[in-house]
Amino acid sequence: MIKADNITKVFGKNEVLKGISTTVGKGEVVTIIGPSGSGKSTFLRCLNLLEEPTSGQIYINDEEITSPRVNKMEIRKNIGMVFQHFHLFPHMTALENVMYAPQKVKGLSKKEAEQIGKNLLARVGMTDKEKAYPNRLSGGQKQRVAIARALAMEPEIMLFDEPTSALDPEMVKEVLDVMKGLTETGMTMVIVTHEMNFAKEVADKVLFLDDGVLLEETEPNAFFTNPSTERAQSFLEKVL
């Protein structure tokens, strides 16, 4: 479903990604972990072209999305993204946030979009906050609305960029629960996270990045019990 081939990304003189290659199969849940500044988020953002790789190719369903001829907007319709800081539209209610893209991008009628929006808000447990503006919501609630907003486009792939890092500890679980529910629907998911237990529990595969290099790519049990590189060992000692 997703294939990255030797992706590099350079910001000025700083080489953030140094040739990353990996694949994500349909319905697979992949978590990316690693120390701050290792390039996790940058790699994730390359997958929906919020960052353009300096070199290398990315294929989604066998289409090369890094080709200059490709229409980025078309690609992004099929890839939902959830951000660390939510980025809900502050001048729209929770429901309007979810309804916006189906109406504007897919051209659905207001009624159809409203139906989708209400269903999704119910799914993330936010029905009673449909009419609330984002600044009336807690961090966990905002993130659940943001997940619903991304799902409203019915994407095949969902990207999560540290979705619980900006939350108060007591709100982490409600967001992880929603994500866990999503893994059970067979959604293809790539998740950058610092929640090791969550990564262990839901992931089919763990990618460990350090200093722009993909050091490990294994199934979670092997990674968490017996990491093969020293970097991963010392990282896990610090965070577990």
Binding site: R76, M81, A101, K104, V105, P134, N135
Partner: protein
């Protein structure tokens, strides 16, 4: 003290007619300046440099020269160069609208830049086209933040509108001057016009506060 407001009473209807004349070209100028200013602001933030350069040069010219000079050039030079006999009204709307656009574009540009970059990213990630993103996501948030600055610009324009008296447009200011010349007393009609300007600006200020409150609903 030589002060007699009763003498201007016969001139009151004549002066009051100036309110309509002033409001007519001020409102058209504000609207024109606002629309053109928004377009220029969007030019300024594009990565396409020719548009950016055009907008920057435009702003530089209209902010870098006196408004009264721009007004004179439009009113006097257009007939000389093209033979088209431009009316005082059209000259006024053009000068004030084009001039205001330069200032408004800077205000809006700053407002757009101040909107969290995450908003753009969220819209892009959803596949929202640029135009919709600007109109529905970025500009509404930008306008909310810059409303006080925009109101300030509109108030300035309303007061500066008195400059059109210099090209013979019968606005509030010009009518007060004419009444003054007829009566050989200037203080009373000018004072009267001053009060009217103050009332207009106050109404504009209150309207601005009202809109601001409405827009803060989501806070």
């Amino acid at each position: 003290m030589n002060l007699d407001f009763s003498q201007i009473v016969p001139y009151i209807p004549f002066i009051l007619e100036g309110i309509g004349a002033t409001l007519k070209f001020v409102s058209v100028s504000i609207l024109a300046g606002f629309i053109l200013g928004t377009i220029l602001a969007i030019f300024k933030i594009t990565e396409f440099w020719p548009l950016k350069t055009i907008a920057d040069i435009y702003t530089s010219i209209f902010r870098g020269t006196p408004l009264i000079l721009q007004l004179m050039i439009i009113y006097l030079a257009i007939p000389q160069l093209t033979g088209y006999d431009i009316s005082a009204f059209l000259s006024a709307v053009l000068a004030f609208g084009l001039n205001s656009a330069a200032y408004v574009s800077e205000i809006i540009r700053a407002g757009i830049m101040a909107v969290d970059k995450g908003q753009t990213e969220a819209a892009k990630a959803l596949g929202v086209p640029y135009r919709s993103m600007m109109l529905n996501i970025i500009l509404p948030q930008a306008f909310k933040n810059i409303l006080p600055a925009l109101m300030n610009e509109f108030i300035t324009l309303t007061k500066e509108s008195a400059l059109v008296s210099t090209i013979g447009y019968l606005d509030l200011m010009r009518r007060a001057q004419i009444a003054g010349a007829d009566l050989y007393r200037n203080f009373e009609p000018l004072f009267f016009a001053g009060v009217i300007y103050w009332v207009m600006v106050t109404i504009l200020t209150l309207a601005g506060r009202y809109v601001e409150r409405r827009m803060r609903q989501s806070d």
